[in-house]
Each structure stands twice: as C-alpha cells, then as structure tokens.
C-alpha cells in the first residue's frame, strides 16, 4: 500500500485507530492510575501516574510516541509491525507492575500496612490502548505470531503474580484471603457449566437431527426451546425452585440424590434448558445446509441411511454443531454466575458476596476469572472448529 504523497508512508500504520489508541493511552497517563484504600470498604484517594512518578510518565509517553514516529520513517513493514506489537505489549503489562510497585511504596510511605492499591481509570485506559495497538498489529501479522505474543503476555503477568510482585493490588489481596475457596468455587463453577452443556449436547443434537428428519416436530420443538431462551435467567432459576422443592418433598429418593429446591439441581436444569437452543439450532442448520449433491453421491455409492449419517452428514456438520456448543458454553459460563443466587456454588458467590458487602475488590476478584474463563473457552472452541473444517487447516 502506497499513498499519493510518497512511498515511505504505509497506510495501515498511520491509520486512525493507531492515533485513537495513542490518545487513549495519553489520557491514561493523566487519569488516576490507582486508588489507595485504607481498608477494603474505603472509597480511597486516586493518584495519577503523572503525579506519582514523573520518569515513568515520560517513559510511557515516549512509548506512545513510537507508533507515530515510526510511521514517518522508512522501514520494512515487518519491523513496523514488530514495533507496534512491542509497544502494545508494554502498555498491557507495565501498568500492572507500575500500580503494584508505586502503590506499595505509597502504602509504606503513608504507613498503611493494611492498605491496598485498587487499579483505576488510568490503569484500564493504558491497557485498552495497548489492546488496540496489539489488535492493529494482529491484523498485519501472519499466522502464529499473534497467538504466541498473547501467550507470552499472559505468562509475563502470571510470573509477576507468582513472584509476589502484585500482592498489594486490591483484588489479589481478596484472592489471597480465600485462596482455597477460590479453587473449590472455580471447580464447582466448571462442573455445573459442564454438566449443563454436556446434557444439552446429549439432548440437543438428537433433537436437532429429529427436527431435520421429521418436519412435524420442528415447529413445536423450536418454539418451546427458543421461548425458554427468552426467559430471564434469574426468572428461570426461580421457576425451577417450587417444582423441585415439591418433588424432593414427595419422593425421598430424589432428596437422597441431593435434589432440592435450591442448590445445584435447579441451576443445572435451568442452564441445561438455556443451552438447548444454540445446539439444537446449529445441529438443524448444519443438516439443512448440506449440499444435496454430496448426499446423492453417497447414495450412488450404495451407502445406507446410517452410513450416510455417520460418514457424510456428521463430519460435514461437525464444525457448525461445534459452534453451537461454543455459544452454549460461553453463555453458560456467564449464567452459572447468576446461579449463585439460588444457592448453587461457583464464582458467582464471590461476585454477589462482594455486592452484598459493598466490597468492590471482591467483585472484581470474582468477575475477572469468569471473564477469562469465557474468553478461553471461546478461543479453545475457535481453535478446534478451525481444525474441524474439512480441508482447511489454517483458520483463525
């Protein structure tokens, strides 16, 4: 890409998003980077990077100027992309280290042993500008470089956490206090979500195949399942309570199985009902979009109905069905949070406990793993769906 003014400027680099990212990053230097809280319920006082540390402000501002400067200098596109990725990564990683170290020294200075450092607007603005620069780089980069860098950045953050550099960050404090419970709730969260999605696959896929084979059942099945999806999650959880309480009172063996009005049973059933629609719909779609010529070819080769289904239709349909399971899984991991309100376990317990105690750091501590889980599950499915598409091996 060469602009009219000369061959030195490559248009993807002076693109407006880069300028936008630089403006956001510069704003982040002036906004409060973190707030110092005396205790967990304290509103706290904000401190911007500029007022906390002039050298680091100068350094970050210089970093932010790099994307602008390199667009004016002649260099190969690969080198430019490298610069962009480097600056993006610095802007994502550095705020953590700065908030932790500068924050800790402020705590020592003010003699607040039990104080904590809560990331504030400036922190998130710097990271956002890093993410924008990074995604501009990913557009230009080929193949695995982007993924590798994401892994490197995550590893970097994890090492910082592991070395204990982030201990004074408020939500890490909250985590340390309940480390053991964190893992048990995390596992409970995953178990509830997995059971719900797993059973939805077991029911949804056959139901989708049935709606395709027998058009009579299609309409009633689809309207019931999509109606269920429309009902608010908290309402659906609530509607499970009364009938389950009744059943468990009536039939003692259900009570022995641990089925009660509140707890895991109503949560898993409601989440299962929620997961049905994406799986059912994608199974149905995958079968109905199939090229009739392929089926004809199969029939011509003398395949039986069963062979057609298992050797032709399902392999072709798999990527579409997998995307249905992907949507269902991401959605269920989110909705499992809400299940904490009806006494099911999971990370939602931290979130709603935090809301109940008006403790913002506890909320953030609960929300971060939920969001990370949703993103990781989405990406893992994306990877496998890319692999499952026949004949295509390098799908982003």
């Amino acid at each position: 890409m060469v602009t009219d003014s000369g061959a030195t400027v490559e248009s993807w680099l002076v693109r407006k998003p880069v300028v936008f990212a630089v403006i956001i990053g510069a704003t982040g230097v002036f906004l409060p980077l973190f707030t110092i809280r005396e205790h967990r319920l304290d509103g706290g006082t904000g401190l911007s990077l500029l007022s906390a540390s002039v050298p680091y402000s100068v350094f970050l501002t210089a970093c932010l100027m790099v994307p602008v400067v390199i667009s004016l200098v002649r260099m190969p596109a690969r080198v430019r992309a490298g610069f962009l990725a480097g600056i993006g990564s610095v802007l994502i990683v550095l705020p953590w280290l700065l908030a932790a170290t500068i924050g800790s020294s402020v705590l020592v200075e003010r003699e607040l042993g039990l104080g904590r450092v809560a990331p504030a607007g400036g922190f998130w603005f710097l990271i956002l500008s890093g993410i924008i620069l990074f995604s501009e780089f990913s557009r230009a980069a080929q193949g695995w470089t982007g993924t590798l860098l994401v892994v490197a950045i995550s590893l970097c953050l994890f090492v910082m956490f592991w070395l204990g550099l982030l201990e004074d960050i408020a939500f890490i404090r909250e985590y340390r206090v309940r480390e053991e419970r964190f893992f048990s709730e995390l596992i409970a969260h995953l178990r509830i979500a997995a059971m719900a999605v797993g059973s939805a696959v077991l029911v949804g896929v056959p139901a989708g195949i049935a709606s395709y084979r027998y058009p009579v059942v299609r309409k009633p099945v689809f309207s019931v399942v999509s109606g269920l999806q429309t009902i608010p999650s908290l309402a659906l959880f609530g509607l499970m309570i009364a009938p389950l309480a009744f059943l468990s009172q009536r039939y003692p063996f259900l009570r022995q199985l641990g089925i009660r009005g509140i707890g895991n049973a109503p949560a898993i059933i409601a989440l299962f009902l929620y997961s049905l629609l994406p799986i059912l719909r994608n199974t149905y779609t995958s079968l109905s979009v199939m090229d009739p010529a392929v089926i004809e070819a199969g029939k011509g080769m003398g395949m039986t109905q069963k062979q057609l289904l298992f050797m032709l239709e399902i392999p072709v349909a798999l990527p579409i069905i997998l995307s249905g399971i992907r949507v269902a899984s991401v959605q269920t991991v989110g909705n499992t949070t809400v299940a904490a309100l009806i006494g099911a376990g999971g990370l939602g317990n931290f979130v709603f406990q935090g809301l109940g105690q008006a403790a913002p750091d506890l909320i953030v501590m609960g929300v971060i793993p939920i969001v990370v889980l949703a993103i990781v599950i989405d990406r893992v499915f994306g990877f496998f769906i890319g692999r499952a598409i026949p004949g295509v091996r390098t799908v982003e």
């Binding site: 429309t230 009902i231 659906l236 009364a242 935090g354």
Partner: protein
C-alpha cells in the same frame, strides 16, 4: 385453518387477561398463590407493589435499550462510511471480543465504577446492549450487494441518499433483529439489577430467595418471564408485518445469545 387461528387469538387474549390480573389485582394474585403455595403464610410482597416494580423494570429496559440502540446503530453506520472505515476491523474485533463477556459481569462491575442504584444499572445495560445492535448494523450494511450500491451511485445518488434509500432499507431486518436480541438480553440482565439496588422485578425474586419464600420468587419470576416472552412476541409480529409476511418471523433473528 380459520378456526385454528381464532383459537390462537382467544388463547392469547385469555393469557393476556390472566397475566394482567396477576400483576394488577392483588386479590387475584393472592388466590393463585394460595392454591400453588398452600404452606406459605406471607403470599404478597408488601414493601413494593408488583405494578410499581414492573414499571421500574420497563423503564430500566426502555431507557437503556433506546440509548444502546441509538449508539450501536450510529457507531455501526459510522464504521461502514468512508470516513470511519479505518475503524471497522477494530470495532468489529473489539465488539466480538466484548460479547464473550457475560452481561452479569458488566453489571457487577458497574458497582465499583458507578456505585449502587438505578443509573449504574442503566449504564451497564446500555454498555452491553450496544453490542448486538452494533454487530447486526455492521453485518446488515456489509451484506448489501456492492452492485446495488454502485447502481445507486450510478444514478447520481449522494452518499447520504445511498445510505438512506439503499443500504438501510436492505439492512433494516438484520438491524431490528439486533435490537430484539439487545432488548431481550436487557430484560434478563435488568432482573439481576436488583442486586445492585436498581429496583425492578428482580427485587421480589431476591427478597424471596433471601427469606426462603417461594411464593415471592414465583411472583417475580413469572412476571419477568411474561414480560420477556411478550416483548419477544411483539418483535416477531413487528418483523412479520414489516419485513416478510410469509415468513414465521423467526428467521434473521440471531440468537438471543447470553440472555441473562
């Protein structure tokens, strides 16, 4: 066929009347709840009336959805114009990325940033509600045949005429489907808004959960479910009337993903 459709109409009217009486008549509600929950002593939540909570709920959703639809639509149009096209990959990428966030996470984060109450909840519903509208606006406009746009330009239409007379009418169906998804998600998330003090129908559900009163939970849950189903049905009628009379009104309705 005719007899069947009039039967459906009658069923709808009956359902509507029952639902209306349940919400607005305390004695009717008490009668129903007494049958369903004979063991429960306190059947009616007295602190706030159900119609009032319904009103709060609808205003939460209406306010946030109108604002979110306007913002999502404008942003979607902006990134598909020549002046904003540079932002298209970025906005599309970030919006897809942000849609993996659970709505309840956004709602919970509204408290540390904005505090308790009605306004933080509207802000959270607004923030998440933008995404489906934005995605569908982009998708709808991008899927308009490039040949049609060229033909329109060839006729001497100005860019704004191309937008208003060619692109938007062709994209309208997909955009409305995005608004539908956004509204349904907001009705669901607004229910959880009760945990950050927004009021609405979640209030009575939460109160029931805290006090172990199944009648309260049922009251709120049925009303919230009714509101969501009725709204979804209204949208499907709207789509049927405006876009495709032959169609069941369901196609083009992208999943109510993450309904919460």
């Amino acid at each position: 066929m005719k007899a069947r459709s009039s039967l459906i109409v009658v069923t709808f009217i009956v359902l509507f009347l029952v639902f209306g009486s349940f919400v607005f008549s305390v004695s009717f509600r008490a009668t129903i709840l007494r049958v369903l929950f004979p063991a429960t002593r306190e059947l009616i939540y007295l602190r706030t009336g159900l119609p009032h909570m319904l009103g709060e709920h609808l205003s939460l959703v209406l306010l946030s959805s109108v604002l979110a639809s306007l913002a999502g639509f404008s942003l979607g149009v902006f990134v598909t114009r020549s002046c904003g096209r540079d932002f298209l990959p970025l906005v599309r990428g970030l919006s897809n990325f942000a849609q993996t966030f659970p709505p309840v996470a956004i709602l919970a984060l509204a408290f540390p940033v904005l505090g308790f109450g009605f306004r933080p909840t509207v802000a959270a519903l607004f923030a998440f509600g933008i995404l489906p509208v934005l995605n569908n606006t982009i998708e709808g406009i991008e899927s308009v045949d490039a040949g049609l746009i060229e033909a329109a330009q060839g006729q001497g239409m100005t860019p704004s005429q191309v937008l208003l007379q060619t692109e938007l009418p062709l994209a309208a169906r997909v955009i409305v489907a995005g608004i539908r998804t956004s509204v349904i998600i907001n009705i669901g998330t607004a229910t959880i808004g009760a945990t950050i003090g927004a009021g609405g129908l979640g209030t009575v559900i939460i109160a029931g959960l805290v006090r172990n009163n199944t009648a309260f939970v049922f009251t709120g849950a049925v009303t919230a479910a009714g509101v969501a189903l009725a709204t979804d049905w209204l949208f499907s009628r709207l789509e049927q009337v405006f876009f495709n009379p032959q169609d069941g009104g369901r196609s083009g309705h992208d999943s109510t993903r993450h309904s919460s």
